[in-house]
């Protein structure tokens, strides 16, 4: 096994077995894990406690049953899965759960979960009128409450020094992942769509400093290889997430290289850093939310997502954009007609596929992707 294969295998193992990653971490450190609900949370704060931040992004192929008590069938697919797993006690071992509530379904789920576990669910609000300085001050107050609750639930004091250290670790991880995105685009023969996703997914279940070290090593190994011409097509993908691996395997089968993404689970997490400055860490973390762009749950009155995607296509010389539409995700659906029109005006080829975590058959996605490749 080559060094590249060995690193990828290690990251895939973590991505596929979050429970094991959590158990290993507990055994190693004596500390537990804190759940991080989609889409954005001040994860650095959890890292500063010494607990392992664990991303909660649903599961694939699980039949929804218990969640039907609370959610209608026409609710966002990922939230249905999370609620089903929560009802089954899959997250009971988490010491706390951090909840941002930028959409209606997240609001409802947060309250349902809080009803069952008032002593571990920490809910906070991102201000949506983000242009104002008052928004930063509001979010600092929210983060102060999050910090106080984390300290109370975990019994750990979060010092400014620890927080600054965590911010630096997260900034480095984000920078390394941005470099990884470029490397994956240059070497699709080496980093498949499945591999690329695993590298992103593993960062949800590992301490970021460990993840950074592995990805740096991976980048160095890959970059030592010669860049080969790609005889397939290149695409930019957008949406909440693009899973499961069966769908990504279809991308690989039809030689659709993902040269950049705008997925909430992937590049949106690494888009904005917490900047240096004279202000305290909570203020700078709040400011990062103000700087966030191109996301359906971060209000943008100018609707810049289309332009951002068009720029990504130009920068990466991609052939097309593939929209991974999370089933019944209102914020994503509302953005779609806006950027679809911009794509049409600019002549950018595009395809929408649906992401539904409950399904186990992917024939329809295969037909769409095959047709799209034939069309390109």
């Amino acid at each position: 096994m080559s060094k590249v294969e060995a690193i990828l295998s290690q990251l895939k193992e973590v991505a596929a077995n979050p429970k094991k990653a959590m158990d290993d971490y507990k055994a190693e450190t004596g500390k537990g894990a804190v759940g991080i609900m989609p889409i954005y949370a001040p994860e650095e704060m959890v890292h500063a406690t010494g607990y392992l931040p664990m991303g909660i992004w649903g599961a694939q192929g699980k039949q929804i049953s218990k969640a039907r008590t609370y959610l209608p069938a026409f609710a966002c697919s990922i939230m249905q899965q999370v609620m089903e797993l929560q009802c089954e006690g899959a997250y009971d071992e988490l010491a706390a759960v951090l909840f941002s509530v930028p959409c209606d379904t997240l609001k409802c789920l947060s309250q349902k979960w809080k009803g069952a576990n008032a002593d571990k669910v920490i809910v906070f609000t991102h201000p949506q009128n983000r242009g104002l300085e008052a928004a930063n001050k509001f979010l600092v107050t929210e983060y102060e409450l999050v910090k106080a609750q984390l300290e109370a639930y975990l019994g750990v004091k979060i010092t400014n020094a620890a927080l600054e250290n965590s911010i630096a670790i997260y900034n480095e991880n984000r920078a390394v992942m941005r470099e990884f995105v470029k490397v994956a685009a240059d070497y699709p023969q080496v980093i498949s769509a499945v591999d690329r996703h695993a590298v992103f997914k593993a960062r949800q279940f590992m301490l970021k400093e460990k993840h950074t070290a592995l990805v740096k090593e991976l980048i160095a190994e890959v970059k030592a290889m010669p860049v080969q011409p790609w005889d397939g097509k290149k695409v930019v993908v957008t949406g909440i997430m693009l899973e499961p691996n069966q769908v990504l395997e279809i991308f690989d089968e039809f030689k659709l290289a993902i040269v950049d993404d705008d997925l909430a689970q992937e590049s949106r997490q690494i888009r904005v850093d917490v900047l240096d400055g004279e202000e305290g860490p909570l203020y700078r973390m709040a400011k990062a939310w103000q700087q966030m762009y191109g996301c359906s749950v971060a209000t943008d009155t100018k609707k810049g997502r289309g332009k951002m995607l068009i720029n990504k296509v130009a920068q990466t010389e991609a052939d097309a954009v593939i929209v991974a539409m999370m089933k019944f995700c209102d914020p994503e659906e509302w953005d779609y007609p806006v950027y679809y029109r911009e794509f049409e005006e600019k002549g950018i080829k595009n395809l929408m596929i649906e992401v539904d975590q409950e399904v186990t058959s992917f024939e329809q996605v295969k037909t769409r992707l095959q047709s799209f490749v034939e069309m390109l």
Binding site: D356, V359, Q364, T367, R368, Q370, S371, M375
Partner: protein, 258 residues
């Protein structure tokens, strides 16, 4: 040179044999689809109709839901094949509405027959042939009779297009209220048309609009599609076999490249 296109759908199997990429020498439909004896029977029927044998066929392309389930020289998606077949038959086609047994598609074409954009229904039977099949059973009629009932309707019974199971209970409720079967049949067709036309609106509508797929044989749905889109629609000749025709055309191009 003879080339063959096989469209293995969810509800039926279609085979077209072409001579020199332009003359249809066989066009056969068997009303069972993937996973059945349908594809084999359709191929046998096409050979019998044309008097040809397997060794006479230079190239075979398979398409449709079951395209990977049988041996062929190449597989193309049904979207590409329907576009190819329709443009061959109707060169002025710019929007295709294809309603098959278990899916519905809207395809936009450029003036060279290239696909500009396409939209497909999600994993749901509403807006497909299966929806009409289920409703026909509740109405104690056949698929063929649905168009006749529709023609006799005096008004349209409202049937939602969200969910087949829910719509089925709506039909039962309409029957128990004494609504005429004719009006319900028309409502069913409007429901299918509104769902499928939603796909066409998503990609933008451009003339000429061509309606194809097995459901295009139902005159009631043709009227409904025309009414929802507020425009005339051209019904493809032999609408059930346009996918197989496109596959045979792709096969001809591939055979010439060999």
């Amino acid at each position: 040179m003879y080339t063959m296109g096989i469209d293995v759908g969810s509800a039926s199997s279609k085979v077209v044999i072409l001579k020199d990429g332009k003359d249809v020498v066989a066009s056969e439909v068997v009303q069972v689809g993937t996973g059945s004896t349908g594809p084999k029977k359709a191929i046998e029927a096409a050979f019998e109709a044309s008097g040809l044998k397997q060794e006479d066929i230079a190239f075979t392309v398979a398409t449709g839901y079951g395209r990977f389930s049988l041996e062929a020289d190449k597989q193309f998606s049904e979207i590409s094949c329907h576009a190819k077949g329709i443009f061959f038959l109707v060169p002025t086609a710019r929007t295709i509405i294809d309603i098959g047994g278990q899916d519905a598609k809207a395809i936009r074409l450029d003036n060279k027959g290239g696909i500009k954009q396409f939209f497909m229904n999600d994993k749901c039977a509403a807006g497909t042939g299966r929806f009409i099949e289920v409703m026909a059973r509740v109405l104690e009629t056949t698929l063929d009779e649905m168009a006749t009932l529709d023609e006799l309707a005096t008004e349209t019974a409202p049937i939602s297009s969200t969910c087949t199971v829910f719509a089925e209970s709506e039909v039962i409720s309409q029957l128990s209220k004494g609504t005429s079967r004719n009006n319900i049949a028309k409502g069913v067709h409007m429901s299918v048309a509104s769902r499928a036309c939603g796909l066409a609106y998503r990609g933008g509508l451009e003339h000429d609009v061509v309606f194809t797929g097995g459901v295009a044989k139902n005159a009631g749905v043709v009227r409904a599609v025309s009414s929802v889109l507020k425009t005339d629609v051209i019904v493809a000749p032999n609408p059930q076999t346009t996918g197989a025709l496109g596959a045979a055309l792709f096969a001809y191009e591939a055979a010439n490249k060999k």
